[in-house]
Structure formats: structure tokens, C-alpha cells
């Protein structure tokens, strides 16, 4: 950063922004307008700014972000579907001085991995769990997730989610916030630049808390899935604001009592 760039015509430019070394030079495979890529960027910018690339170990989920380890230029492990927080526990317990995070979708974290998630937080594992809630199974083609909203059409709820048959959307983050092991629990989004800045602050705080051995930090990011939702990226932003946020209100659910 802050290097001088010399253009062909002799103009000298000061470089004020570039790809951080914490992101590899590999193009994302995500659909246009998908929130995953923005969250990746935010995470790695924070790792870059805190200068913890050599200390950070990530755990990737099964889901659309299964290849997160190709994009994040840090040591990473790929976990089985739902097991990321158990894998993160294993890493953190043997390398307590490193910073460990898991990155998981709603199917991964709130369906198949519910037990691992709850117990990891309940033990107060000193890790960061990043939870991307797009209300759908993106990777497998848009099936219903535990977080799918009532009436929402997915490939396995083709007439809209019927809560009498399929149950209610699981507000797992609210559950998590109740657990004594949870130190910092917040719900953020990436639907506009302001939201991205807020997420970045939250991630920074979470890593700092981990350095202080405070317990589990849990960041939900209410995100979009243009392909799964069968909407244009712009339409998904409107849907987020009008339908998702009222059900999953943004903001902190648990903040440390300083």
C-alpha cells in the first residue's frame, strides 16, 4: 500500500487501494451479485489490516463457499457439511495462540450442524463463527433452509414455505445469544456500502476479542442468493430490506459488558 505508481505518460500516482495479500489472485466462482464474495473481501481486509495473516486459520463449509480456501490466502481446512465449528474447535484447542474462524451457510450451520454449533458456542470456544444467512441452500440448487421465510418459494417448498408442515424459520443467532459461552453476537449485512463498513467493524472487534481470549464471537450476515431466489441482484436487495430484515433485524444481539 501507499506505493507510487508510474504511468506510461510519466504521471505519478499514489496507490491508495489494492488487493490485499490475504486474497489470492483467483476469480470468485460466485454468481453475480452474491453476498459471499463481499463477505470474503471484508474478512480478508480485516486480517490484512490487523496483520494476522500468519496467525489466522479458517475453516470452510460445505455450501457455495466451499472453495473459500482458494480465495483466502491463509491456511485453511475444509470441513464436512455442518461440522466446521467442531473442526475449528480441534484446531483452536491445539493451537490456542492462533486466530481461528469458521465460515458457514445456513444449511451448514443451522440444519446439519446445529448440534456442533450450539455446543461449540456453549463451551465458549475462543473462535469466530461467521454465519451467512441467505435463507436458502444455494449450492444444491435452491432448496428450503431452516432460515427460509414463511411463504418463500424454494425448490423444496414450491408453493411457499408452509410453517405448519415445514416448521418456522430458525432464528439460530437469537438462540446462540442466550448461551453463556457467546461473548459477542451480532447480525449484519452487506447490501450497501454502509452495511459493509459496519460488518468490517464487527469482524475487527471479533478478532480483537479472540486475541483477548473472551469466548465465542458469532457474526450472522443476512445475505442474498440471486440464483436461488430467482431474482436479479437489484431485486434481492429490495427483498432483503423489505422481507428479510424485518424477520432478521440487523444489529447487535449480545455485546460485552465493558
Amino acid at each position: 500500500m501507499n506505493e507510487k505508481l508510474l504511468l506510461e505518460d510519466g504521471t505519478e500516482l499514489e496507490q491508495v487501494f489494492c488487493r490485499p495479500d490475504t486474497l489470492t489472485d483467483v476469480p470468485y466462482h460466485y454468481c453475480p451479485g452474491c453476498g459471499h464474495s463481499v463477505v470474503h473481501n471484508v474478512l480478508m481486509e480485516v486480517v490484512d489490516e490487523l496483520d494476522i495473516q500468519d496467525k489466522t486459520i479458517g475453516v470452510a463449509p460445505v455450501g457455495c463457499s466451499v472453495f473459500a480456501y482458494h480465495y483466502m490466502n491463509i491456511d485453511m481446512q475444509e470441513a464436512a457439511h455442518g461440522r466446521a465449528s467442531a473442526v475449528a474447535t480441534g484446531i483452536k484447542r491445539v493451537l490456542p495462540d492462533k486466530l481461528v474462524f469458521s465460515y458457514q451457510g445456513d444449511g451448514d450451520l443451522a440444519a446439519i450442524g446445529t448440534a456442533e454449533t450450539i455446543h461449540t458456542v456453549n463451551r465458549g470456544e475462543n473462535i469466530l463463527i461467521v454465519f451467512i444467512n441467505n435463507g436458502i441452500y444455494g449450492m444444491t440448487g435452491g432448496q428450503m433452509a431452516p432460515t427460509t421465510l414463511p411463504g418463500m418459494v424454494t425448490s423444496t417448498s414450491p408453493y411457499g414455505r408452509d410453517v405448519h408442515m415445514a416448521g418456522y424459520p430458525l432464528k439460530i443467532t437469537d438462540l446462540i445469544a442466550q448461551l453463556p459461552g457467546a461473548y459477542y453476537v451480532t447480525r449484519q449485512s452487506v447490501h450497501n456500502p454502509n452495511a459493509v463498513r459496519k460488518l468490517k467493524k464487527a469482524v475487527t472487534k471479533a478478532f480483537e476479542y479472540q486475541m483477548q481470549n473472551k469466548g465465542t464471537c458469532f457474526i450472522e450476515v443476512v445475505s442474498n442468493c440471486p440464483s436461488g431466489w430467482k431474482m436479479t441482484p437489484v431485486e434481492t436487495i429490495k427483498y432483503l430490506e423489505e422481507v428479510m430484515f424485518p424477520y432478521y433485524p440487523l444489529g447487535d444481539l449480545k455485546v460485552p459488558k465493558e
Partner: protein, 366 residues
């Protein structure tokens, strides 16, 4: 092996406890597990003993399930730690997902299965009913574990060292497959030396990306078929190389006319059968596979040239007998004697089986 270093007095210990003590002495970095009879003494012993060892920084964690335990093992192994778990049959079934991932990601670790009777919830009594699961993969995909089958409390302890040595050499999960009786019974044991197992460097582990190397990735995802095939072929090559590690033991096979094949506790019982038979003038010998994977096919094939028949003895419905038959390739008859559900054949029962087969054979010869 380290016998010369063993200056300690023999101790009287339970199999599970000897195994746990050996794990401490093997300098494990971490143990993750979930209680299940008949192996809960492993985690109980570690929880009790590790805090009293000033020089040890071993992590011992009781997970919420076997699914979580094995995935914690995966994480820790991927981070370069020497790590183990233990369980019994139903718990090992729950671990199969994780074991397949660990085998694919080529991580060394030790999984101990102190087998009980099944299927299902079954019984807490000893069994060898998990042979197929242990040696043929168990989880999904083409993979094998290194499988060691102890037959004494001494070996419950010794095989911890052997299993880690092999697991780390081949970057492959290893399993100690012991029936419930071996976990529960008390015997004399001379423990392996503390710290007698040097650490294997793991430059591939996720320990934090430093400037001098690319980021390390632990994964079992190879989405391109060409790439997946390459990984599969590499695994198969590794299993081929592992064949050189095959281990077995023989008793009185030199002049044997009847060969018993048995592993673990069944082999202990069959040693008695050999003695009883020889008192009666029947020349019985015993081959006991120590590694169930790799399996001593070659040696069994050689011995089958010299005997009239083979009797395979197990505590199940006949699982290893399939490998014995593969080895023998129909050259001599292979019979099976087994009991299930926690029942164990007595030496007399097995001897009667040998005698009745001999009688039938003689009728055929007449």
C-alpha cells in the same frame, strides 16, 4: 522395539487404561471423545491423569457426540497435532463420515474401537463384529485404515505407539480394533517409555501461513473428475506401499495339518486350542493376523499349501473368513466357527469343531 528402554516394573492394568497411559507416553497433543461402554475408561483415565503430568500440555476434551469428536480430531490433525479418539461400535458408526474425510485429506490420527456386540445398540459385551467396517472402508469412498488388532493388555499399550508411527509415516488414519474384553480385562503390562515416540514434522499442516510458503489447505474436495481420480490413484498407491507393513504371529505352524486363523481375543483362545489338540495328537497350528489391514494374504496362502483345512475363528458371523478364503483361493477347505452377541467360544467348543471337521474329512477320504 523399545524393550531395552523398559526399565519399569510391570503393572496390573485394565486394557483401556493401559492404552490411555500409552497415549500419554506417546505425547499425544489431544484426545477428543464421547463416553460409551466398554471403553469409557480411556477418557476417564486421561481426564484424571493428564492434569497431574506437569510436563504435558495434552488437550483432553469430552465432545457432545462422536460426530463432533472425530471432526475435532480432523481439525487438530490438520493443524499438525498428534491426536486420537476412542469409542465403541455405535460411536464408531457415527464417526464414519469424519473418518472418510480424514482418510481423503490424508491426515494421521489414531481411532480406537473397543468393539461391542451389534448391530444397533446391541450389547456391551465383547465382539469382533466391526471387522468389515474397520478393514473395508466403513465410510464412503475408496479408502482404507491401517488396522491393528491387539490380543493382550500389553498390546493395547504397545499398539498406540505402532499405530501413531504408521499413521504418521503414511499420513493415514490408523485404528486399534480391540474387542470389549481386551478393554475391560486386567493383565500385567510393561508400559512403553514416556516420550519414546519422536514427533513427525508436518510442513503441510495449517499452522498459520508464513511469508516463506504458500497457504496450506486441508481438504477432501476434488471437484474435477481428473483431479479426483489422481487423488484416488495416489491413495491406492499408498495402500500398496502399506502392504510391506503387514504383521502376523504364528504358533506351531511348522508341522500343522490343521490351521486356525483368528485375531485379537479369539487368537488368545485358539492358542489354548492348539495346546489341547496337540495333547490329543492332532497337529493344529495358529496364524494370528496382527494387522488386519494390510492383511497377511500371502502367508496364509503359503500355509494353505501345507494343511488339510483351515478353521477361521471369530466373535462374529464370519467376516475375516472372507479374507482368509480370498487368500486360500479354494486350495483347501476353509471353515468358520463363530459366536455373536457377546458370546465367546470356549477352547473346548473350538476343539470339538476341529474334531468334527476331521471326522467329516475322513469320511470323504474313505
Amino acid at each position: 522395539m523399545e524393550k531395552e528402554l523398559r526399565k519399569e516394573e510391570p503393572r496390573l492394568m485394565k486394557g483401556n487404561e493401559a492404552l490411555a497411559e500409552a497415549a500419554i507416553r506417546a505425547n499425544i497433543d489431544a484426545y477428543f471423545g464421547y463416553p460409551i461402554t466398554p471403553q469409557s475408561e480411556v477418557i476417564e483415565y486421561l481426564m484424571r491423569e493428564v492434569p497431574n503430568r506437569k510436563d504435558k500440555k495434552t488437550v483432553v476434551l469430552q465432545a457432545e457426540s462422536e460426530v463432533a469428536s472425530i471432526n475435532m480430531v480432523y481439525g487438530a490433525a490438520g493443524a499438525g497435532a498428534r491426536v486420537m479418539t476412542s469409542s465403541s461400535s455405535p460411536g464408531i458408526s457415527l464417526m464414519q463420515e469424519g473418518i472418510s474425510y480424514i482418510a481423503s485429506a490424508q491426515l494421521p490420527c489414531l481411532i480406537v474401537n473397543v468393539v461391542r456386540g451389534g448391530p444397533g445398540l446391541g450389547t456391551i459385551q465383547p465382539s469382533q463384529g466391526d471387522y468389515f467396517q474397520a478393514t473395508k472402508g466403513g465410510g464412503h469412498g475408496d479408502y482404507h485404515l491401517i488396522v491393528l488388532a491387539p490380543a493382550s493388555v500389553q498390546e493395547m499399550a504397545d499398539f498406540v505407539f505402532d499405530a501413531f508411527r504408521l499413521a504418521e509415516k503414511y499420513r493415514n488414519p490408523a485404528m486399534i480394533l480391540a474387542d470389549g474384553a481386551l478393554g475391560q480385562m486386567m493383565e500385567k503390562v510393561v508400559l512403553p517409555p514416556d516420550g519414546g515416540l519422536p514427533k513427525t514434522p508436518a510442513p503441510w499442516a495449517t499452522t498459520g501461513k508464513t511469508k516463506d510458503r504458500n497457504h496450506n489447505i486441508i481438504t477432501s474436495l476434488f471437484i474435477q473428475p481428473e483431479e479426483m481420480e489422481k487423488v484416488n490413484l495416489q491413495l491406492q498407491k499408498k495402500y500398496e506401499d502399506m502392504q510391506s507393513e503387514v504383521r502376523w504371529e504364528e504358533f506351531q505352524t511348522e508341522d500343522a495339518e490343521v490351521l486356525l486363523v483368528a485375531f485379537g481375543l479369539s487368537a488368545r483362545i485358539c492358542q489354548k486350542v492348539v495346546d489341547l489338540a496337540r495333547e490329543k495328537g492332532i497337529k493344529v497350528g495358529l496364524l494370528r493376523p496382527i494387522t488386519l489391514y494390510p492383511f497377511p494374504y500371502k502367508r496364509i496362502a503359503e500355509l494353505s499349501e501345507k494343511v488339510e483345512f483351515i478353521l477361521d475363528v471369530e466373535m462374529n458371523a464370519g467376516q475375516m473368513v472372507e479374507d482368509v478364503r480370498l487368500a486360500v483361493e479354494g486350495k483347501v477347505p476353509v471353515y468358520f466357527k463363530g459366536r455373536m452377541g457377546g458370546m465367546i467360544s470356549t477352547p473346548e467348543e473350538i476343539l470339538r469343531e476341529v474334531e468334527s471337521i476331521l471326522e467329516k474329512q475322513n469320511v470323504l477320504h474313505d
